[in-house]
Structures are given as structure tokens and as C-alpha cells.
Amino acid sequence: MLARTHRLRAAPALFATIALILASCQGAEPQELLVLEWAGYEADDFWTDFQTANPEVPVDFEFGTTDADILSLMQAGSQADIFHFYTGWQQFYVDEGLVREIDTSKLTNWDAVPADMQALGQIDGKQYFIPWDWGFSSILYNTEEIPDGISSWNALFNEEYAGHVSMWDDGPAAVTVSAYINGWDETAITDEQLAQIEEDWIAQKPLNIHYWDSEYENLCPEVKSGEIWVAYAWQGCYADALYAGAPVAYANPDEGRNSWVGLYGINADTDSYELALQFLDLKLAELTCGNAVTLFYYGCANGDVMAAVEDPVLIEAFGINDPGILETTNFTPPVTAEQRDAWTAMWTRVKAE
């Protein structure tokens, strides 16, 4: 009886202790991360500094196939703490409240990111995104089959290369290329212009061996084997082909190359904000950024890493030795939701034709 009374007296203290533990647990962040990524970016080399610093923290990945897909996954309530997308899509995430502002004061590698790169992640003066990978889009071509070289995006439409062309399977990219060729403002494409673009790409369709959708799966191998002579490509495939000794060159079209930057955002609903910040900070660290450059041939936002590149193939691929490269490069502008829908619908009609 006494013992029972004693237990009853002890109960409030026990409840208080449990409540205290629960409260302290509530304050602590979960020590795990989920990253919404593009297939391939889950490779350990792409987040090696974080792994070394936090060997006990499990990092899982889920994948999107396109920027539209990643946006729709986030809109559908993805549990990912961090998501990765490309320039042109920043505004959607901010407008829909899907992203949390980044506290750059907590990033130890932030100063290594050039200011103009940092600005790409800002909306209304707030830093919502961290730039990470970057690169060019241009025409990759076989120099044995096309010894005279290529000076225009129009090469993708040249019937002389029929059966040996490969365009990226992407509606907005198709619109961008057409805008360059026709000298149109890609942020203000009219309905008539879009109809013309659709007709042009339908006429171009038989020239393609296929539309590629995975750089290292169905573009680079066929560039290296010589089956593809002319392709819309990123510099990574160019470097890959150069390393393989393939006779290729990466065009500097009169209309200018295109440039893109990959950005990371932190989910507005994440419970692991501090851990997500650390993950992004260490993505910018020298080893991880260096891996992106040397192993995967992507540019990285850490300026020190890019300045240290000495490999002649990478210098060529990134145009590091060309002081005028950025002056002739078109940076991917933001698109509106209506443009995005219209352009992707246009591309599905081209493919269905």
C-alpha cells in the first residue's frame, strides 16, 4: 500500500521528466536528410564532404526527371528537405511558398561563390537558393564528318546531317534554340512564333536519330561511336568525348551558347533546416565541388575550384581560356507558368506527330 502511494506521489515527477524529454526532443532536428535530385547526383562524390563530416547521418534521395517534374513533386508535398532544379524556375518556388530563405551567414563556403552567381539564387533581395553546378548548352559535333565546323544553331536543322542529329528531349530548350535562330526574345514568344517553332521542329524531326534524355546514357556513347554527328549538348559530354579521343568540337554559334545554373533550395516545411544548410554548405566545399568538375565535368559555383582547373580538356570544355565566352553566352531567363505549359505542350505535339 505504501509502495503504491509512493508510486502515485512519484507520478507527477515522472510525467514532468517525460514531458521535459519530449519537449527537448521536439526542439532537436531529425538527423537525416531527404534530397530531391536528378538521377546520378546521388553519387557519393557529389556530397563527399558532408558524408565525411556526418558519417552517421543517413541521406536518402528521390528523383525527378525534369524541372517540371521536380516542381510538381514539390507542389504535391514532397518530404524532401532539399531540392535541386535549374535556372528559369526560381520564381515558382518562391511564389508558391515552397522554399525557405537561406541564412548565408551560416555557410562557411559562401564567400567562394562569385557575387553574380549568388545573385541567381536571390528573389526580391532574399537568398532563397544556392547555386551549385553550371554549364553550357551548345552544338557538339563530329569534326571528321563536319570538317568545316558549325557556326549556327541552325545546324540542328541541316538536312545534310539527316539520321545523325540528336536534339535534347525538352520543349523549353527547343523554344530557346528557335528563338536564337530567329532572333526572337525567348521571354516574349508570341502564339504565332510558337506555331512557327512547332512547324520547324516537326519538319526537323526525321533528321534525328533520337531525342536524347540522359546525357551519359543515350547521347555521349553515340557521339563517341560516331553515330551522332550533331547534337544539342552540355559541355560534360564534350569533355567526356574529348577524354575518349573522339573527333569532336563544341560550337560557339553566332547566336551565342546557352548557359544554365543548377540551384538548391530548402523545403519550406523541413524539420532539418540546420542540417540541410550544412549539406548545402559542404556541397560548396572544395573537394565536393572539385569532384563535380573533375569527375562529372560540370562547372561548380565555388570560384576557387574553377580557378584551380589545369586540365586542358576541362579548360577547353568550360571555355576558361576564352575571355569573351561569357559575352557571347545567353543566360537562361525565367519563364512564366503559362510559357512553361505552352512550350512543353508544343513539344509533346511535335513528338506525337
Binding site: 526527371t65 517540371a68 510538381s72 534525328n208 536519330i209 533520337h210 561511336s225 505542350a345 506525337a352
Partner: protein, 286 residues
């Protein structure tokens, strides 16, 4: 205490729940989403306003409807070819393999053990410009240059799909042939019917339900096929299933993708119902 019938009903609950959750419910969701008006990703917080705009868009886009027609035709060719090629395989297993039937059946099932993607990727190696077929054709001097048309074409999609489906198609035909009473054959032989006559008048009609099951088993999923065309079809081999996939992924337009999926489902079901009405299986097999 549950009776025998009660126990059976109880055992049937998990599969029904499974089907309900992972087949019926998603299907209902697809149908529901197809009546939403959005052109971009669905915002589930928005009110559910019914709209036929997605169906109207499909109806107004000739290329989508044409692609559905092409995909149905391709599925007919694939299903017909796979069934025809599977028929002798099943016949051999049922009537000629005798004691070795199980061994050959295992051989037939071996491809199931390999990944689907692996099999299709193998066809890329076979059909490519430097692939086995082109190399062989050049080696025997039939062609001077590699043939472009083998890979990344509608033909490549059909060849790969027929290959993949043959083992599947053989199984229902084999099952139907196994049910054929051997006494019919013996009686027909006693009455003077030759092997061809027995084959055409006994084996074929009695195995027809299995052949039709095989045909539809191949036809229905092939209409919506998208993996094989994306791997070996190139720009020409694009199918209706790829269109649906595009709307769900690159276009992130779930409502339009759902409408396209519902249309495909309805068209496929109508075709199957019409075919079953036209081909009176019971009359043929009796």
C-alpha cells in the same frame, strides 16, 4: 467459428483490399483528375470543379488521336505476331515434348528471370549500327553499310516487344492445349482424319480461347507501352504511352495526362469488347 465459405471469404479480403487500394483507388483518382481544368501541376487544395477541357484539348489535337491509332495498330501487330509465334511453342510443349515438357517449360520461363530493361538494352546492342545484326549482314556481304532503320524505328519497337511477349503468350495457349481431351484426336484418327485435318478441326478450335487470351494479354499492355519505345523507338517509334508519360513528367500536366490515359483505357476496352463479340469463342471451340 467461420464456415468453409466464410473462411474463403476471409482469405479473399487481403487481395480485394490490395486491389482496392492500389488499383481501383488510383484509377478513380486518374478519372477524377482528368476532369480538372489545370494545365500545370494539380493543386489539391483547390476546389474540385468538373471540366471537360482536358478531353476537349485531346479531341482538338489531331496528332494525339493519330498517335493513339498508330499505337493501337502497333499493338495489333505485336499481339498478332507474338501469338502466332507462341502458338508452335505451346503446341510443341503440349503435344511433342512429352516427358521433357517440364524441362522445356523451364527453358521458356528463363527469360522471366532477366530484367526487362536488360532484355531491351540487349536489343539495342543487336540492332545498333555496329550491332550483331548489322555486322552479320555486312559480313555475309548482303549490305555494304550498316542499316539505319534497324534501331530507333517503329520496326525496332515491334521486334523487341514481340520477343519480350512470346513466352508470356505461350503460357495461356499451352494451358488451353493441355485441357484438350486426347481422346478427340484418337477418335478423329480412327475415323480417318489426317494430321492436318485433326490439327485444324480439333486442336485449333479447342486452343482458340487460350490463343485469344494470349492475344489480349499482349495487346492491352502494348497499347500503353512506353519503356520499349523510349529505348529503341527513336523519334519515329514514339507511342501513345510515351505521350501520357510526358504529360505526367516533363510537362507536369497531370490533368491532361489523366485524360489521355482514360481515353486509352476506354478505347482499349471497347476494342476488346467488340473483338470478343465478333469472335464467338464458345461457338468456335464447341
Amino acid at each position: 467459428m467461420l464456415g468453409r465459405r466464410g473462411a474463403l471469404r476471409f482469405l479473399a479480403v487481403p487481395p480485394y483490399v490490395w486491389l482496392g487500394l492500389f488499383f481501383v483507388l488510383p484509377l478513380v483518382l486518374i478519372v477524377a483528375i482528368s476532369f480538372r481544368p489545370e494545365t500545370g501541376p494539380i493543386n489539391f487544395d483547390d476546389p474540385w470543379a468538373l471540366s471537360l477541357v482536358q478531353y476537349q484539348r485531346v479531341w482538338e489535337t489531331e496528332s494525339y488521336l493519330r498517335l493513339l491509332g498508330v499505337s493501337v495498330l502497333m499493338a495489333l501487330v505485336v499481339a498478332g505476331s507474338a501469338t502466332l509465334l507462341a502458338y508452335p511453342v505451346a503446341y510443341f510443349l503440349a503435344f511433342r515434348a512429352r516427358d521433357r515438357a517440364v524441362f522445356y517449360l523451364v527453358l521458356l520461363l528463363i527469360p522471366f528471370a532477366a530484367s526487362y530493361l536488360l532484355k531491351i538494352m540487349a536489343w539495342r546492342l543487336m540492332l545498333g549500327q555496329e550491332g550483331a545484326i548489322n555486322s552479320f549482314l555486312q559480313y555475309i556481304g548482303l549490305t555494304a553499310e550498316p542499316l539505319d532503320l534497324l534501331l530507333y524505328s517503329r520496326a525496332a519497337v515491334i521486334i523487341a516487344l514481340v520477343y519480350v511477349w512470346i513466352p508470356f503468350a505461350a503460357l495461356p495457349i499451352y494451358a488451353a492445349m493441355q485441357r484438350i481431351n486426347r481422346g478427340h484426336q484418337e477418335a478423329a484418327a480412327d475415323l480417318g482424319a489426317g494430321p492436318w485435318s485433326r490439327f485444324w478441326r480439333i486442336t485449333v478450335p479447342l486452343s482458340l480461347p487460350g490463343a485469344l487470351a494470349a492475344f489480349f494479354m499482349v495487346f492491352i499492355p502494348t497499347v500503353g507501352e512506353y519503356v520499349t519505345p523510349s529505348l529503341v523507338g527513336g523519334t519515329e517509334g514514339f507511342m501513345y504511352g510515351n505521350l501520357i508519360q510526358d504529360f505526367f513528367t516533363s510537362a507536369a500536366n497531370w490533368a491532361q495526362g489523366s485524360a489521355l490515359a482514360v481515353i486509352m483505357l476506354v478505347v482499349t476496352l471497347v476494342l476488346v469488347i467488340v473483338a470478343l463479340r465478333v469472335v464467338d469463342v464458345r461457338r468456335l471451340s464447341s
